[in-house]
């Protein structure tokens, strides 16, 4: 699975990486974003929820992993 390691990046760089990956990933695939920033986690989560994109969050000791499933009907994010 494609992994975007955005740890150490200032906001909103992690969200920029997420939106780019959403556009570039083929439909029906998944990718992961790693972030150490709670703000980035909150912003990305809000963005994904708002665009009805399925995702899950796993908390690691000092960062978070967000797994994003780009379904076949996620066109809204690419608009």
């Amino acid at each position: 699975m494609h992994i975007l390691d955005t740890r150490g990046q200032q906001c909103p760089a992690p969200l920029i990486a997420t939106r780019k990956a959403l556009r570039e990933s083929p439909d029906g695939t998944a990718f992961r974003i790693l972030t150490g920033s709670r703000n980035a986690l909150n912003n990305i989560s809000k963005f994904l929820t708002d665009n009805k994109i399925i995702y899950s969050v796993q908390e690691e000791p000092d960062f978070w992993t967000i797994t994003v499933n780009k379904g076949n009907d996620n066109e809204s994010a690419a608009k």
């Binding site: 909103p12 939106r19 909150n42 809000k46 963005f47 708002d50 809204s76 608009k79």
Partner: protein
């Protein structure tokens, strides 16, 4: 460490500068619930209507407009930061229909970490901008703190019967915005090094511009409802106005003028956290049209620093009003929405 020789870049010291550094509106509302409101017939405007400033009647001819605002750096240059912070602080008086008269400096400055020229640069910028507004800075207060923060506490005069408030929006009014949007997005992009120099200069010019001419035109037309657009974004401030006035406000977001590449930066995902916090606050009172463009929606919630005035003008008057604004040097003035009877949602957002 004292860096005497090096140019100080203030922007490297903050993750969210300007009005983006405001506390989340949801949290603020929660806290303010527990603050007792003083009862005094001379208090003409208090925090209940989420207005830009408080207003206190001195006599039948005079009321004082009182406001304060300060924030961390929005740009690299100390002098420009001072100008922008002062323009932003003074704007609250203009938004209430007042004339700013005197002010005090509020400064937080790390004296062991930055050269004192930075301190004096910020103060000079503030002082020059205050002079431009005809406001006299007559004192201030400094605390040792990092990162630096600066702003003013301003006192203005207004006639008690000519106060302009958040509660003055009437069904049938058109909403006019007097500056383009996007300072939050452009500043975030600047920190990441992905904005052009031209857009940065444009954003700084917008932030430095006083809302003085807009305020003069409002007075001339006898406007009753207005606010300035700052940390809660265009949509957040429109919502506060709708709530205070008991009306519904519809914003036509495709009519919003943007600073430079703001729209395409949002499209790339350059959306500052403050925009999401503002969206969180507004969601429960907002109807989002099903075909609403996501980038326009997030632009409407972008936190503005020293943003424009959002003015309620009776329908039919818009052309004349905008012509007068332009005659007075307000280059970006356009109708961005309208006020209607309350329809169940305080805010309606459409393309």
């Amino acid at each position: 460490m004292i860096k005497k020789q090096m140019e100080t870049d203030l922007l490297t010291m903050v993750e969210s500068g300007g009005c983006s550094a405001k506390i989340s509106p949801l949290k603020l509302e929660e806290i303010l619930k527990y603050l007792p409101l003083p009862d005094d017939p001379n208090i003409l405007v208090n925090i209940e209507t989420h207005d830009d400033a408080g207003v206190y009647r001195v006599n039948d001819e005079l009321a004082l407009v009182l406001t304060t605002d300060f924030f961390p750096p929005v740009c690299s240059d100390p002098y420009e930061f001072g100008q922008i912070a002062a323009a932003n602080s003074i704007s609250d008086v203009y938004a209430m229909g007042g004339d700013p008269v005197v002010a005090l400096n509020i400064m937080m400055f790390p004296e062991d970490r930055l050269p004192l020229e930075v301190y004096s640069g910020i103060l000079r910028g503030g002082s020059d901008k205050a002079s431009e507004a005809g406001t006299k800075i007559i004192g201030g207060h400094t605390i040792d703190d990092f990162p630096p923060k600066y702003g003013l506490a301003v006192v203005g005069y207004v006639h008690p019967e000519r106060i302009i408030t958040n509660a003055g929006a009437k069904p049938g009014d058109s909403l006019i915005l007097t500056k383009p949007l996007g300072t939050g997005v452009i500043l975030a992009a600047r920190r990441l090094g992905i904005t052009s120099e031209d857009d940065l200069i444009l954003a700084k010019t917008v932030m430095k511009q006083l809302n003085r001419s807009g305020a003069e035109v409002m007075k001339k037309f006898g406007i009753k409802g207005a606010t300035d657009v700052t940390g809660f974004g265009l949509a957040g401030h429109a919502l506060k106005m709708a709530k205070a006035s008991g009306v519904s406000i519809k914003l036509n977001l495709s009519r919003i003028p943007f600073i430079g590449d703001t729209y395409s930066l949002i499209d790339k995902g350059c959306i500052p956290g403050a925009a999401f916090r503002n969206l969180d606050y507004a969601e429960k009172n907002t109807l989002f049209y099903p075909d609403l463009d996501y980038n326009l929606k997030m632009a409407a919630f972008d936190a503005q620093t020293s943003g424009g005035l959002l003015i309620c003008t009776p329908s039919g008057n818009e052309t004349e009003f905008i012509a007068e604004l332009k005659k007075n040097g307000v280059v970006s003035a356009s109708v961005v929405g309208s006020v209607g009877e309350f329809d169940g949602n305080y805010l309606n957002l459409c393309n």
